[in-house]
Amino acid sequence: MPPPRSARKPAPRVRIHPLGDTALLAELGTRLDTALNTRAIALASALTKRRDVRQAVAGYAGVTVHFDPDQTTHDALGAAIKRLATKRPPMAEPGRLHRIPVVYEGPDLDEVAARLKLSPQKIAEVHARPIYRVFLVGFVPGWAYLGPLPEELELPRRHVPRTQVPAGSVAIAGRQTGIYPLPTPGGWHLIGRTSVKLFLPDRDPPCLFRAGDRVKFFAATR
């Protein structure tokens, strides 16, 4: 029986791009959109169960699929992905909710406040207001892209990235927010810090957040 098609929402057009001979990128869309991300996470989860798929990693609006080239081809797997993506996505699971204490005293807080014409207190208040979604875990161990950030806080990245950002820094850029899990270079604006550990090398999986989780920040005092 053909998979039932949702009458309300047309299935997204999937674009399949090779990433070399052992991986491909399945693009569901190009917008920052919670529904697209939900579909991407569901697709990645369905693909992980296939024997010819080694890993499937959900991005914001697509899935990067690493496959066994001895068991399938781009064309065969691409066709299977298109079939899977036309299925109605499962009910979005709410994901786990993390409450993260933040001391809003980041080195960029005053500058961000001045550029957005808001008080530092207001920045903290607006940043702590939403429940953010974990769109994607990746880049460096434990890093999670959280969003959407309220429009009132939208700023482009810093012109000159810092060569070293302290671990635990809470940062914003564009419509995203995140926490630096390790001391790394970084171009986002640092508005606060947290003592919560994002990268847990001795646990499996070694990170606190998973794609689809929800995150609520709250202001804490030192």
Partner: protein, 312 residues
């Protein structure tokens, strides 16, 4: 803990324990890691009768100075860093016996960037997230999460399961074309973001490996590749990806690459060319050549067949 089979007298420039990596950890943002040159790593293991997934030593640019504390069967593959046993030239891509007290040393770098040393029975190493590969950022895996130092003892993981036979050899005609620095690549998802002449430059112009080149990736010097279009949303990456950041100087991602990013991906080096890429060093010139997926499959099959000759 077993008694060391090899003692490190000098570690070389940068020697780490590597295996086939931890690909499942990419969902946590942890680089997959593993040997940069998987062909040389696999061959070294097969030459001493190991499974290809055993840990090996990856020696970067200059090799270590080792002394055998017990007799053992080893193989040296990958870059030609002038291996010697007791000051006599030692054959590469060949299983060789070391007797107790024998010295395995390296001289000048002749070709390539990374040599691999396998020991029959495998190398005992810390396992982290299902792999013995060294991850320096997390200080996990391999030899206590770090590169080797003078005085370290390398133990074999177990007694060799296979009969120990020296003289097993992989002839040069079966090796990847290491001397030809052409990296065969498939056009990437965002190749259309290149400006008009960009694609011709990408697949044709010479590029040079800059000094910013390590296990994470190589920043390349050469014609600037201008890209257009809105900023991309981040997505999962793979080794071999050629991404173009704002400055237009492409970056080739290698084994310890960042797991996600949002720069345009204009090409991906195919798996059969990654051993060649792994042996490039700063200053080396390279070219990207576009291939079809079918050609990439044939190239992959031919390297797999070369390794199969060692599996008897």
């Amino acid at each position: 803990m077993r008694a060391p089979v090899l003692r490190v007298l000098q570690p070389g420039l940068f020697t780490t324990i590597q295996d086939l990596g931890r690909p499942n950890a990419i969902t946590a943002g942890v680089p997959p890691g593993g040997a940069m040159d998987r062909f040389a790593h696999r061959a070294a293991n097969l030459l001493v009768g190991n499974s290809e997934a055993e840990a090996t030593l990856e020696c970067t640019l200059s090799g270590p100075d080792l002394v055998a504390e017990r007799s053992c069967l080893v193989a040296i593959t990958g870059a030609d860093l002038d291996p010697q046993v007791n000051a006599q030239a030692a054959p590469m891509w060949t299983g060789i016996f070391l007797g107790r007290g024998d010295r395995l040393t390296f001289g000048a770098r002749h070709a390539g960037g990374r040599a691999y040393i396998a020991v029959a029975g495998g190398i005992e190493a810390d396992r982290w997230l299902a792999s013995t590969s060294t991850n320096l950022m997390a200080a996990r895996g391999g030899f206590h999460g770090r590169n080797l130092k003078a005085g370290d003892g390398i133990a074999d993981a177990r007694d060799s399961m296979a009969p120990m036979v020296s003289g097993r050899h992989l002839p040069g005609r079966l090796l990847p074309a290491y001397a030809d620095h052409t990296l065969f690549a498939v056009a990437g998802p965002h190749v259309r973001r290149l400006h008009a002449e960009g694609r011709a430059l990408l697949f044709g112009a010479p590029y040079r490996v800059s000094r910013e080149a390590d296990r994470m990736g190589y920043r390349l010097e050469g014609p600037r590749l201008a890209t257009s279009g809105e900023e991309l949303l981040s997505f999962g990456l793979t080794a071999g990806v050629v991404q173009v950041p704002h400055g237009g100087q492409p970056i080739l991602l290698m084994a310890d690459h960042q797991t996600a990013g949002g720069y345009p991906v204009v090409a991906t080096v195919v798996s059969a060319s990654m051993p060649v890429a792994a042996q490039l060093v700063p200053g080396d010139e390279l070219r990207f050549a576009e291939v079809t997926l079918e050609r990439a499959r044939q190239m992959r099959a031919s390297l797999a067949a070369a390794l199969d000759t060692l599996r008897s």
